[in-house]
C-alpha cells in the first residue's frame, strides 16, 4: 500500500490504521465513508467514482502534509476507491494517529473536508430511474481553488 492512494479494489481500513500506529501514538481515528442507500429520499442502486489518478494521489498527499503541519505529531494515511460501489462499500478511508485524542479527531475531520474541496474525484449516483454526476455548484474562484 501507499499512504495516499487511489485504489480500485475494496478498502481494508486496518491496513491504514496499522500504517499510522507507532509507539508514540495514544489515539487513532479511522473514518470510513460508505455508500448509503438513501440520499434526500432517493434510493441509490450503486455509485461509480472516477478520478484523475496521479493528481488525486498528489492532492491526498498534500492534505496529509497539511495535517501534519497543522497538528504536530499527527501521522495520516488516506485512500479513495474508484469504480462501481454498492451499498455499504467503503469509498474513502482516513486514518490518523496522534499522541493525544483531540488532534486525531480534528485532523481527521479536516481531511474529509479538504478531500471534498480539492481532490479530483467524481461521484456518479445511479438510481432506479436515472443517474447523475454529483458536484458542488461553486463558481470558479478568482484566486484559484486553494
Amino acid at each position: 500500500m501507499k499512504p495516499f492512494e487511489i485504489v480500485e479494489t475494496p478498502i481494508e481500513p486496518q491496513k491504514y490504521s496499522d500504517y499510522v500506529l507507532h509507539a508514540g501514538a495514544g489515539a487513532v481515528t479511522v473514518f470510513t465513508g460508505h455508500v448509503r442507500e438513501w440520499t434526500h429520499g432517493i434510493r441509490t442502486l450503486y455509485l461509480s467514482y472516477e478520478a484523475y489518478i496521479p493528481m488525486a494521489e498528489k492532492k491526498l498527499a498534500q492534505i496529509g502534509a497539511e495535517m501534519e503541519a497543522k497538528w504536530p505529531g499527527v501521522k495520516a494515511a488516506i485512500a479513495h476507491r474508484i469504480g462501481e460501489m454498492h451499498i455499504s462499500d467503503i469509498a474513502v478511508v482516513i486514518a490518523v494517529s496522534s499522541p493525544h485524542r483531540k488532534a486525531a479527531y480534528e485532523a481527521n475531520e479536516y481531511a474529509i473536508e479538504r478531500i471534498k474541496e480539492v481532490v479530483p474525484i467524481w461521484k456518479k449516483e445511479i438510481w432506479e430511474d436515472g443517474e447523475e454526476w454529483i458536484g458542488g455548484q461553486k463558481k470558479y474562484p478568482e484566486k484559484g481553488i486553494e
Binding site: G33, Y49, E50, A51, Y52, P54, M55, A56, K58, H80, A91, V92, I112, I115, K116, E117, V118, V119, P120, I121, W122, K123, K124, W133, I134, G135, G136, Q137, K138, K139, Y140, K143, G144, I145, E146
Partner: protein, 77 residues
C-alpha cells in the same frame, strides 16, 4: 501541442477522455473559452483547469507540451 483530459460529466459531454490542441501557448482563460465553443454546455464557469497536475489560475499561461485537465466540481469522499 497542448494535451487536455476530460473527466466525469465532461468526458461524457465531449465523448472522449482527452485530445490534443494544436496551439503553442494560451492562457487558462483562453483554453476554457475554446472548450466552451467546441462543446456547448461545457460550463466553463464551474470548471477548473489543472496544468501538470496543479490547479491553475485563469491568467496562467499554458505552453506546448503541458498536460492539462478540465476539473468539473469534485465530489469525492
Amino acid at each position: 501541442m497542448i494535451k487536455v483530459s476530460y473527466f466525469a460529466r465532461l468526458r461524457e459531454l465531449t465523448g472522449k477522455p482527452g485530445e490534443t490542441i494544436d496551439r503553442e501557448s494560451m492562457t487558462v482563460r483562453e483554453l476554457l473559452d475554446w472548450a466552451e465553443t467546441a462543446y456547448p454546455g461545457f460550463g466553463k464557469d464551474t470548471v477548473h483547469v489543472a496544468v501538470n497536475e496543479e490547479y491553475a489560475l485563469k491568467e496562467d499561461i499554458i505552453q506546448s507540451g503541458d498536460i492539462c485537465a478540465f476539473i468539473p466540481p469534485v465530489s469525492g469522499g
